[in-house]
Symmetry: C2
Subunit: 166 residues, 2 copies
Amino acid sequence: MELAEGKEKFIHAWGTLGSSWGINRTMAQIHALLLMSSQALSADDIMTELNISRGNANMNIRALIDWRLVHKVLKPGERKEFFVAEKDMWEVVRNIIAERKKKELEPMIRALNELSAVEGTDEDSRAFSEVVKDIKLFSTKADSALERLIRSDSSWFVGTFLKMIK
Amino acid sequence: MELAEGKEKFIHAWGTLGSSWGINRTMAQIHALLLMSSQALSADDIMTELNISRGNANMNIRALIDWRLVHKVLKPGERKEFFVAEKDMWEVVRNIIAERKKKELEPMIRALNELSAVEGTDEDSRAFSEVVKDIKLFSTKADSALERLIRSDSSWFVGTFLKMIK
DNA sequence: GTGTACTTTCACAACTTCTTGAAAGTTTCA
DNA sequence: TGAAACTTTCAAGAAGTTGTGAAAGTACAC
């Protein structure tokens, strides 16, 4: 297979995957393009390669930087900004988990805490409280596990991972 | 807090969370409604409570059944179908993981395998192969870990979980 | 067989999210 | 200061997703 064909397929696959991970298609494609590239690329390079507008490129590059999946690089003597992707997959996954935990799990736990205040002795109220209690327990555990995962380094992760799949 | 208010808040929160988990808003809301309810509900009950159309209710109930998050229940003497939610959170999470692994991780791994065929000795080809190799390694590990997770039962999970957060 | 009580399908409508491109903003340097 | 080289913003349109409701399909009871 030719490099160009491989790149294209990879960008497509990564785009598809990304969209089910809270990363939109273009955002994931930019990330893929940068992952594949041995040098830092400028916004213009990205626009050209992916056939997207300046605004779109800019917005998604910013988002990727927010998620810490892409870093800005300044080349001496150049006024343009260049970008490189985070290539350490452990780091990539860790950043995505951190971002999603913040946006999804934490608000959920906050909501659940409020819901503990429901009172009542009828069957429905009891069923409600029971479910809320269970979910809260589960979410809190998940939250701690993920927090630890995020704070830990790659070697710990690989270790635990290997233990899990042993 | 009143039960009704709590229910409403929960349905809203679950709907929001669901949409970032590959479960659309209505689908998650139906699941939430069923989770909260001590008895099985019919399609009509769901339509009324959530103010949604018959078609919408039907489609999303089927999808929930596909994901094994909701089960069909037949009441003796009733012609209607009734539905209950899977209330064991471990089971819920396990089913969601299984479904997403099938739809996301497995196609990715298939795509990556094809991409190993890229040849070339220039810097870009090498960078490409390197990235593909890394991601493949990572994805394969993740796949095994999740496979084990899916096949295992709640006690193993809780055990590993507790070890992870200790 | 036929009526009744449901469930499923589907074309179109409503809504949401993404993309564009041009205008405005910022930085740098002579 | 001002003009060139970039980056950011934003309103409008395109694309994609979800929801509707009526019509078609199915199954059971008589």
